[in-house]
């Protein structure tokens, strides 16, 4: 195992991107993760900066142009370490990798897409897969939103009324239909099950027949994000030709089909680039000796197996992803190395009085502080280990809901970590 250049822990967006980029740079990479990462719970679009100031309700047009103002108000945000260039390169890297997996991501860092949410709000995102991007409300025109009785997570009438009330230049109408064919006779179907059903050509034909009488006068047809899982590009293209209209998707509640597609694309790209992957493997601990990570403990059926590599990237996430843990006494800790965690000292300071706090919940900003090379630091700012890097949600200083920077942080810090590892 000593031939491993880098072990990446965690299969979320930041971990998968770091591993992909290192593998593409001909490193011997091993990605170890307990399970699939948080992309499967997210929309599938990449948020870089959606709102500035963060309590504004007006979606930003150009995220990078607002970056300086944002950083002036959020001086500890990880964007400070990574920089605008890393954001650009991170987005470009994601576009390159996903395009090669037939899941092209559309957009760029200087123009947000304004995607409709399932509620009918506007979700500003720098990049989105084509199926989501085609819903951009600024394209205007008349759109028909289609829901299904059997899918309890998508209510197109509510989305349409909210969209119309905001006078965004788009006119939305809705129709909710029973599925043209039952899915395994089930009353409670998940988006994933429905996505698999959409992969059947016969199902799409029947749906198109039922839908055709409703389509007149609409330029775009929106569906919940269930248009195929493994064969999504073909499903989307086929549906567009069947209906003779532009077709788009809207992400609703988890599990997220676009998130699942992204996870699978990045996983497959990693394997194609020669990376290795252990999913379902928990790293339960690690040793730092003389300023270096010397080993990691991989839990197996009988005893922990020791892994080692020249570099280790911690992409295990924050309190949400599971890379940080907390208890009733108000402690927050990083369970693998016991890294120092910056968090509000007392539990009563963890939360805002508002559930939907514009600046995010204070506890959501808990994380590990790092130096310019993304290495965790001690109280004096010295790196705790020369070969350990932290990327993504585990970083201190930001709550992704404040301004909506989650995707951008994962991508930009992946770039910064790769730079630090390769340019050593």
């Amino acid at each position: 195992m000593n031939k491993t250049d880098t072990i990446v822990i965690g299969a979320g967006l930041s971990g998968l991107m770091t591993a992909n980029l290192l593998a593409q740079a001909n490193q011997n990479v091993l990605l170890v993760a307990k399970g699939v990462g948080t992309p499967v719970l997210a929309s599938g679009a990449m948020d870089v900066l959606g709102f500035q100031p963060v309590d504004s309700r007006r979606p930003l047009e150009n995220p990078l142009a607002a970056l300086d103002d944002f950083l002036a108000e959020h001086p500890n945000h990880p964007y400070r370490l990574a920089g605008a260039e890393a954001i650009r390169r991170g987005l470009a890297a994601l576009q390159r990798i996903t395009a090669a997996c037939e899941l092209p991501y559309i957009g760029g860092p200087e123009k947000n897409l304004h995607l409709p949410t399932a509620l009918g709000a506007v979700h500003p995102a720098a990049l989105a897969p084509r199926s989501l991007a085609q819903g951009d409300v600024r394209r205007g025109g008349r759109m028909l939103l289609v829901g299904f009785d059997e899918l309890r997570d998508f209510y197109p009438a509510l989305a349409a009324e909210n969209l119309n009330a905001q006078k965004l230049g788009v006119r939305a109408k809705s129709v909710t239909l029973p599925l043209p064919a039952p899915v395994d006779g089930k009353m409670n179907i998940t988006p994933i099950e429905l996505a698999r059903t959409f992969e059947q050509r016969a199902f799409r034909r029947r749906l198109a027949r039922v839908l055709n009488p409703h389509l007149k006068g609409f330029s775009r047809i929106g569906f919940p994000a269930v248009l195929g899982l493994h064969h999504h590009p073909a499903v989307l293209a086929d549906l567009e030709s069947e209906l003779g209209k532009t077709v788009f998707e809207i992400s609703a509640l988890p599990p997220s089909v676009p998130g699942r597609r992204l996870f699978e694309a990045l996983r497959d790209a990693l394997l194609r680039a020669g990376g290795r992957l252990i999913l379902g493997g928990e790293i339960s601990g690690g040793e730092i000796t003389a300023g270096r990570v010397t080993s990691l403990h991989l839990e197996t059926a009988n005893r922990p197996k020791l892994l080692s590599a020249r570099h280790v990237v911690l992409a295990t996430g924050g309190l949400f992803g599971g890379g940080l843990q907390s208890d009733a006494a108000g402690r927050v800790w990083e369970p693998i190395f016991g890294l120092p965690v910056a968090a509000p000292a007392e539990r009563r300071a963890w939360f805002s009085a508002q559930f939907l706090a514009p600046h995010g919940q204070p506890i959501a900003g808990a994380g590990v502080r790092v130096d310019a090379r993304l290495r965790p630091i001690d109280g004096e700012g010295r790196p705790l280990a020369r070969n350990l890097y932290v990327v993504g949600e585990q970083l201190a200083g930001y709550s992704w809901t404040a301004g909506r920077t989650g995707g951008g942080v994962s991508l930009a810090t992946a770039i910064a970590a790769v730079d630090a590892i390769i340019n050593r």
């Binding site: 709000a121 979700h123 309890r152 509510l158 009324e161 909210n162 609703a252 309190l319 963890w350 939907l356």
Partner: protein, 541 residues
Amino acid sequence: MNRLSTEILVIGGGVTGCGLLFDLAQRGFKPMLVERGAPANATSGRFHGLLHSGARYAAKDAATARECIAENMILRKIMPHCIEDTGGLFIATPLDPSDYADQFYAACQTAGIPVAEISPAEALRREPLLTPDIVRAFTVPDGSVEAWEACRTLLESARAYGAQTMLYHEVTGLRLEKGRVAGAAARNRITGAAVTIEADMVVNAAGAWSGKIAAWAGCDVTVYAGKGTMVAMNYRIVNTVINRCAPPADGDILVPVGTVAVIGTTSVRVANPDDYPIEPWEIERMLVRGAEVIPSFKKFRALRAWAGVRPLYQEKQAGPDLRKVTRNHALLDHAALDGVENFVTITGGKWTTYRLMAEQTADIVCRKLNTHRPGQTARTALVPEKKRKYHTLGARQEKVETGQASGQLVCECELVTRSQIEARLAENRRSIINDLRRDLRLGMGPCQGGFCTWRAAGILHQSPTFSAAQANKSLVDFLQERWKGMTPVLWGAHLRQMLLDQGIYAGLLGLDKLPPELSGADSPRLAEIETEGYFLVKNEE
């Protein structure tokens, strides 16, 4: 100004007021109930849901124990659909005083409570998660009661006899005429409109607020607000009510309620019954006490904490220990006490004895009005015969499986189906999500509304009365209300759950980014006040 008149005005829509309204209506009066929120909005809906067998009080207060067991048996007959027959266990651990158990057993027998000792092994067989260190165990007929359903049933039954209900109306003063109470002034909390209600008799059943009401008539009623904090755990840890076989103390009762288990309570005197924040030590105390009975208690997730204020009546100055203040009820005829005619206060007491309190109050009302009309509520079943069976946890699942309910689950934690929600909306086209919670337990399970709140908002919006803005507002309010109860217990896995919910409502749905005029996020919370909820609309129609 809107003027109304009634024979008897009942102030307070807790279970006592609801029970009294029904009792008076059944005796042929034309009573009216005025309540500032929804029924069982305060203390009557903010307890752990325990139907007392009386055993909790047997050793200390035989009279209360006797009342409890008698009422327990009556409620099982008249409102079985609101009761889950869980049974109760009293267990003594090595931490409990060793001489209490014998004293307890003898006291239960004296009070007429069916008590039986079982072996610790048998107790563990019934409830395997209990501590193996049990020293002694006793069975008693405790139960779990569905408070909102009970109050709803009482009000519906009262209306069937011609009673009127004024919900979401806050009493702002009493009308006094020549030393007698002649009615009350109230304000409609939805429209702000003032209302005057003339009445021949006014009954103050305002619980922890009854001192405030009495003061308007110049009567001194000392009622302490005794805060009790409860914590709901994410799992039905036990199927039986578990009590500590020890003198009453904090966190000595664990009640299975639906899919969760509720531990309670603390007992803290508070100055203001409208403002009683939950303190961190209260949560910690509940978890420590829970772990004394269930060793794995802290491995479960605390879902939510809430508190209610008991009305504790005290004739004389109370000492600091509220558990020594009487939990008996007090029925005060202010003519005799204060020289104020046509005014009666009923306060104190327990949920379990609401019917008895109502009956005794109605008896006094009859005496004061010089009429003889005996109460019949102990013999009157509140549901038709075919529905006369205990509520069970599996009932909803059974309905889904036998095709009596549409199987589409909107709330997966509490097994609330879409057809149930649609039926409620058909009955009352203005139910908001918080009404659905009270009616159906929507959003009360382990995920605390993460998924079902969104679905409920979507379904609400499909009913023609709801605009998108109203559905959004109902969603915003409900999430905020749940948030208040979650923050005291957010850490570990439950904190992750909350962060997922934030991801859903902010990240995926963008609820925080809708314009405020569309989401109502900046306007006052509708829930509990301007909801035009179920009962109000029924009343209007």
